[in-house]
Assembly symmetry: C2
Homo-oligomer: 235 residues x 2
């Protein structure tokens, strides 16, 4: 936690917050903050600044806070991801938030196991929890938008063309394709497949929606690794 | 497991292996391979090829194997990493092996907690286990070399200058430094700090050894994410 992220409910005055949850525990046991010390704070969806610890006891911490700094810029990208297995999903959500992706679409694919759609980690509160961890890690305050699309065809046929319009549209796929471009310098729509990759029908559908297949080298990377590697290459 | 990695002890003839361990379980329960089906195999430290399942029962699998393909090229990089916390260490080892890093130095730093050096995950067998998982993921056969340096100063003063000679030497450090270069096209020595970063003394020592500080943007990434992002940017 490199940023103490504050929500509206934490505020007891315009410049005063009280915390009782895991953030209290973290401040006390991990950061070992003492009274009058300062730490970085951010207002969820708003600015960042600093907080001075006024009081800390077993059940509650009180801080005086001020905000003077915008959060870091997001990447100009919409990331489409074949729904990963539940354990990986949680880490990917953190990575996506930490790297500054503003919009994530979790998409079905032929090779996504049906059971993955049943995971409690897809509940809005569970998604939000992982996104917050990513924001706290990277020092950002703005939650990414997460869109869940359980049906591949209607999404790719009806919604993707508008989403991808005016962007550099790319679909990662092994094979005899150009390598993924570098430092594109403009907005990107990037689709990353499931373990085992997209099936040819899906790649055709992406191509029809305006995305170009690009290959990512011989090595097969875990989804989380592929996400950070591709974003670092593109931006 | 995208590659069935075979060791010398598995061979019962030049073209025949018998497996009894987690690879047997994986073939049976995850890949659900059937007799006469083929799967990708690799000889640890050697070539890759294919294996045909001859026999599979509760305790043993037998395959006929042939090898005709070199493993993918490694990246021309020596990666120096402040020793991460034990849980992260395991994942980082997998990522390093999967991305094709041939040489990793796990290094002490002022901000590495002393207790991290006590973890059983630093035992050679435990390191090897994680590296193998990374190779199986990415389809590679060649284990990276892992060097453990518990003392920062003698390593950076006495050994690093030779290691870094003739390479593009970089140390990741937040601050008013040039951004990390892209697609350097030659060998690199890259040092990535602990959570909280290197201390100024350490950055000075790296600089004296020929490494240039580069910054990686405002966002603070987990070590695993930083490793994959930086490697993707550099190569």
């Amino acid at each position: 936690m490199n940023l103490l992220l504050l929500e509206e409910g934490d505020f007891v005055a315009a410049d005063r917050v009280r915390l009782r949850d895991r953030r209290l525990t973290h401040m006390r046991d991990v950061h070992r903050v003492e009274v009058n010390e300062s730490l970085r704070v951010g207002r969820l969806g708003g600015q960042m600044g600093s907080g001075r610890l006024l009081r800390l006891d077993a059940t509650e911490a009180e801080l005086q806070v001020s905000f003077d700094q915008p959060p870091p810029a997001k990447l100009p990208v919409t990331l489409l991801l074949a729904l990963p297995r539940p354990k990986m999903l949680r880490r990917v959500l953190q990575t996506v938030a930490a790297m500054g992706v503003p919009r994530l679409v979790l998409l079905n694919s032929y090779r996504v196991e049906k059971s993955f759609w049943q995971t409690p980690f897809l509940e809005p509160a569970a998604i939000r929890e992982q996104l917050i961890l990513g924001l706290e890690q990277a020092r950002d305050t703005v939650l990414p938008e997460v869109i869940i699309e359980k049906r591949f065809k209607p999404f790719v046929e009806d919604r993707l063309p508008q989403l991808a319009a005016g962007t550099c549209g790319l679909v990662g796929h092994p094979g005899d394709f150009p390598t993924c471009p570098r430092a594109v310098g403009g907005p990107v729509t990037l689709a990353i497949g499931p373990e085992g990759g997209w099936i040819p029908y899906e790649v055709e559908k992406f191509t029809a929606a305006g995305l170009q297949p690009v290959q990512l080298g011989e090595r097969i990377l875990r989804v989380e690794t592929a996400v950070s590697a591709l974003l670092a290459r593109l931006f």
